[in-house]
């Protein structure tokens, strides 16, 4: 920037054409810098992901897939070669499926109630809804542990699901609420007016129209659930191991390349879902 600042006055004594050129030059220089800066940001953001993807094609020399040895497709041909990792992945998917379905239903209903109706304590509900987002995971995990322990619950699948519902609920409710904010409630009036029962109105008008929001909320909570380690490790007990827990517990003894393969697969899967969503909304916008 200083370079441009010192350059600009030097062009001043020259003809009017040059004067016009001055700011333009500055602009191109500035935009070039902006380009470099943006590229750096993107490298910063995506470097770890690139490493993860690249190392899924690595044939590690030892038990740790941490230094490049040689290219192989072997890991991709046998992604489920490590049975305990596969089992952990299945647990994670089950937990995510159950807890996200429940969280999406409950959170969706909350979002609808908050957006649609005026009721006493609405402000309080809104605050309580944001609270889990701001609570440190370590605090939530340990307090859930205390709660379940005091209730004498069996630690395992159920407690993990309960915990995951808890932290997904806020995300779901807030995501759907944002989607519902612009909803034209007179559409519901119109449906009722035409003789449709409240339930049929919800099924044929409200639900289809907020479905994209519900879908987004479900995917978001699914990602959160698959990803969570801290809270899960507090409430999982001794016999339930999720995928993140398995990786974390193993990182002192072994990191097989299958971890990278599965991570990459998840990445590609969610990435293509996002691309699909964007493509569809673009197509709709064009109509």
């Amino acid at each position: 920037m200083t370079a441009t600042a010192t350059q600009a006055p030097s062009t001043e004594p020259v003809g009017p054409v040059e004067q016009v050129k001055g700011p333009r030059q500055r602009r191109t220089l500035r935009s070039r810098w902006l380009g470099v800066w943006s590229a750096l940001v993107y490298i910063w953001l995506f470097a770890p992901i690139v490493v993860v993807v690249a190392f899924s094609f690595n044939d590690p020399a030892g038990k740790f897939n941490t230094s490049w040895n040689q290219f192989t497709l072997d890991n991709w041909l046998h992604p489920f070669a490590k049975a305990d990792y596969t089992a952990a992945l299945v647990v994670s998917l089950k937990v995510a499926a159950v807890s996200c379905v429940i969280a999406t239903i409950l959170g969706g209903l909350m979002a609808l109630a908050i957006s649609r109706y005026e009721f006493r304590g609405k402000g309080l509900v809104n605050i309580v809804l944001v609270l889990p987002l701001t609570t440190p995971e370590i605090v939530m995990g340990s307090s859930l542990f205390t709660l379940f322990f005091a209730r004498d619950l069996d630690f395992g699948f159920t407690t993990v699901v309960i915990a995951h519902i808890l932290f997904c609920l806020s995300f779901v409710a807030l995501t759907i609420q944002a989607r519902v904010r612009g909803f034209d409630w007179s559409l519901e009036d119109a449906a009722l007016d035409l003789g449709s029962t409240p339930w049929r109105t919800f099924r044929t008008v409200t639900f289809p129209l907020i479905l994209p929001g519900i879908g987004a909320a479900f995917l978001l909570s699914f990602a959160l659930s698959i990803d969570d380690y801290i809270i899960t490790s507090f409430v999982a007990g001794d016999h339930t191991t999720t995928f993140p827990m398995r990786i974390f517990n193993a990182n002192k003894t072994e990191i097989p390349p299958q971890v990278n393969v599965i991570a990459t697969a998840i990445l590609v899967f969610t990435g293509s879902l996002m691309a699909l969503g964007t493509w569809r909304s673009l197509k709709r916008a064009k109509l």
């Binding site: 119109a190 449906a191 007016d193 035409l194 003789g195 008008v205 129209l209 109509l287």
Partner: protein, 394 residues
């Protein structure tokens, strides 16, 4: 009430009442949205509720539709009390202000929504939808999405969708408000045509007095939750019951008046320092009462010399003359300092010019005496009335 009585003929001509609003009030917190509304709407009638925003017309409509429950009173649909019946169980349908078309359905499915909700057989649904799309002349657009249609087309789809259930009454909530002037005017005629074609009672809410005058069989003028007057467009225009109605519908010269004497239906009043007789007086004012005297601008004559001795006349000075094409708009000042406006046909010669002293006159049937003072006239929205401006004497 004399006003209500005047409104009865439409019902007593043999047409059965479809909707009875029986002393209905609606209170939100400490705000009274509708204050003891009481009227009947007859079968096949084009009935308008007219008033400024916040006058209670939309709330009344929503109570008829079932979206609001009356705080007191009853709403009857063909004799049956429906005050607490939810909207999906009432045989009335609504055309919403912003149309409220279902954006995720095409035109055909939008129109078919009602009959499908009523679980009619498939061929009956198809028959009705095709018929109604024909009525609104949009059969070729059946497969389009609402977002692909123009405002006027969306409007007609909303109309078809609301008529497809053959409701006992169609409720229209400012349906033309979102359209531009030209389209609005053609839709007014279109609405009349469709109403004649289907023969269903239309209840039309609007704040546009011209729209109401053009389309309605009868109009209920509302203000601050109260029904000020119900009558045919002609009655309401020629014989407004209140200063508000006089000022809201069309333009009006409104002067403060004092009643001097009653003699049968003829009342002698003092206006602008002159004694004037009002024939066919319905104001109910007694000698000594203060009221408002009204003459419509287009009923005024402006001449250098009075040509017809049967007319009432006051001296006036022309302060302004505006040529508006078919008419010339005169602004006048009366001897007591109050102002007046007259619209007279534009002739080619002999028009008084500013500064001229003229005779401003009107005939018996153009004069109306109203209870209340001129400042009860509405001050905003369409067609601001020409109340006597306190012109300072120079």
């Amino acid at each position: 009430m004399t006003i209500a009585d005047a409104a009865e003929p439409a019902v007593s001509t043999g047409r059965k009442p479809v909707i009875e609003i029986d002393d209905v009030s609606k209170v939100f917190g400490d705000f009274t949205a509708v204050d003891h509304a009481d009227f009947t709407i007859a079968e096949g009638e084009f009935f308008s509720m007219l008033g400024p925003s916040g006058c209670g017309k939309t709330t009344t409509l929503r109570m008829i539709a079932g979206f609001e429950m009356p705080s007191s009173g009853a709403i009857r649909l063909q004799g049956q009390d429906v005050s607490n019946v939810p909207p999906h169980k009432r045989d009335v349908n609504t055309v919403f202000q912003q149309y409220a078309l279902f954006p995720h359905m095409n035109v055909w499915d939008n129109v078919a929504y009602g009959p499908r909700a009523k679980k009619l057989p498939k061929d009956e649904v198809a028959k009705r939808v095709d018929e109604l799309l024909g009525v609104v002349k949009l059969s070729d657009f059946a497969k389009r999405r609402p977002s692909q249609l123009s405002g006027g087309q969306q409007q007609r789809i909303a109309l078809a969708r609301a008529l497809v259930n053959y409701p006992k009454a169609l409720l229209l909530d400012e349906p033309l408000g979102a359209l531009d002037l030209k389209l609005r005017q053609s839709m007014q005629l279109e609405l009349k045509r469709i109403q004649r074609e289907v023969g269903i009672t239309f209840i039309f809410v609007t704040h546009d007095q011209e729209e109401a005058l053009t389309m309605s069989d009868r109009i209920a003028v509302m203000n601050k939750g109260r029904v000020e007057q119900i009558g045919s467009p002609r009655e309401i225009y020629d014989h407004p019951a209140t200063v508000f109605v006089a000022g809201f519908i069309g333009q009006a010269n409104l002067w403060p008046a004092v009643v001097k004497a009653n003699q049968g239906t003829t009342t002698t009043i003092e206006v602008a320092g002159r004694a004037i007789e009002v024939a066919d007086d319905r104001s109910g004012l007694r000698p000594g009462d203060h009221g408002t005297f009204m003459v419509r601008p287009e009923r005024m004559y402006v001449e250098p010399q009075l040509s017809d001795p049967d007319r009432w006349t006051v001296d006036a000075v022309v302060t302004e003359l505006v040529f508006q094409g078919p008419v010339v708009r005169y602004e006048l000042r009366l001897p007591d300092g109050s102002g007046a406006v007259a619209h007279v046909p534009a002739r080619r010669d002999g028009l008084p010019i500013p500064g001229d002293t003229v005779q401003a006159s009107w005939s018996d049937e153009s004069s109306v005496l109203l209870p209340g003072s001129p400042d009860q006239a509405p001050t905003v929205e369409t067609g601001p009335p020409i109340t006597a401006p306190p012109v300072t004497r120079d």
